[in-house]
Subunit: 299 residues, 2 copies
Amino acid sequence: MSGRGADLSRLSLNTATTKRWTLKQAVDGAARAGLPAVGLWRDRVAEAGLSAAARVVRDAGLRISSLCRGGFLTAPGPDGRRAALDDNRAAIDEAATLGTAELVLVAGGLPYGSHDLAGARLRVAELLAELAPYAAQRKVRLALEPLHPMYCADRAVISTLGQALDLAAPFDPRVVGVVVDTFHVWWDPDLAAQIARAGVEGRLACYQVSDWLLPIAADALLSRGMMGDGQIDFTAIGRSVTDAGYPGDVEVEIFNADIWASDGEDVVSRMIDRYLDLVLPNLLPDDRGGARGRAPWPV
Amino acid sequence: MSGRGADLSRLSLNTATTKRWTLKQAVDGAARAGLPAVGLWRDRVAEAGLSAAARVVRDAGLRISSLCRGGFLTAPGPDGRRAALDDNRAAIDEAATLGTAELVLVAGGLPYGSHDLAGARLRVAELLAELAPYAAQRKVRLALEPLHPMYCADRAVISTLGQALDLAAPFDPRVVGVVVDTFHVWWDPDLAAQIARAGVEGRLACYQVSDWLLPIAADALLSRGMMGDGQIDFTAIGRSVTDAGYPGDVEVEIFNADIWASDGEDVVSRMIDRYLDLVLPNLLPDDRGGARGRAPWPV
């Protein structure tokens, strides 16, 4: 593996990439490969148990770059609203217990049969206002993730980084931030400007990388690929993220049936190679004071 | 059919919707159903022969709401550039001969293996500048169509209406306009503002309707559906188009394997019903001076 001895100090393995691994296996695999961080999905945390999960990561000496995910704020009616708030408060508590500052939020799509996109977007703004004080008390940041517009109907009515920043605008940047996931935003003609804006506003909470593969997979959620296997320009996006002053970890989060079927060690090895080739060269160089990791409470 | 006797004076059948019909069959089918207009694809025109196609439509007393399509301006190198210019000049000539003012342009995607999205977008702007004088001489408008971002890599690097308007900005609005196709733009958080802008700038060249179906089809191009079968809010978008003062035809353009396998008469009948239910109620009312059709040379 070419990664041995190289600078992996900002590379984080998101547990979604090595889906067949338990949380413990993913943490051990990341540590063996010399990675300093993992991004955790809540299902893996739940399997392990919250306290046990926190201990496993701590004992391995890793940090948690983000917890995925809260959100799904678009369910209509009092019951839908209450369930969403309950689940997100639980996710905030989990993030706090795990000691990660960043809770990724996926907005949720249109309710089944609904055509009211404007209404769904309004509910996201309303529930965000309910959740922000709770998150602030626990020193967890709600990291709004714009998803590719092809998921607007069924998964996330936040479709662009600019829209995510508009939704975040009423809140303290330590409480509501945004995620830049290359797969979701690479096509956006306004991307460079919005990443710069996120930097100025202090809201760049998480940088996730994966590639755009064609054809779109039968399960559209699984269309992501390893960096370099698709058509995303990691140089342009990486430079924007760097110019915006992002000091945090780079999470590799790939939903892909072939990758999930592969041996976890091989996936991590390939991920490191591609990171070193395509992603790291565009990150903040050491002599510009690039941080290693991030403060538990963004300042 | 509920359409008999109703106001169909702005409804246009795009030949892509009844794919198995020849141009003559589509024109006859539209005329039988009381429609005033058709939108033509160049492959159907070529099959019929250009002069014959023009005659068939004229003899049926229909107008041509648009010709689809020119574009594919992103091929690299002198040969790619020359081929694109040649093909688009031919398309402009065909539009002029057919007597339609609107030539729909689909930008083209990334060249195979390329990661240079910014470069591809720059080539679109450059070739547009080459083509605009040629189009102006022939009184044909180049109608830039933003395609859904899921087609950015392989089909159209113009991904939002705002981007299309930015590309159009250097040119006379009679020469370069934009298309609003609900399937492609419905998700855009900035849509209402950009449709309003298109109205103010006099660039709203074509309004096409179809719905967003889930799951995304195996061939992603065929994910469109009949209005009302998916989750698009035709009321909100229709009102924006109306408020922008759009006086033109409404084209129904649906790529869908089930619809293509259906009897053409049935498709047209269903299309009329859905148009009357979901689209017409949001169009410019008569008492606001809504035009019927459009001038051959937009003013």
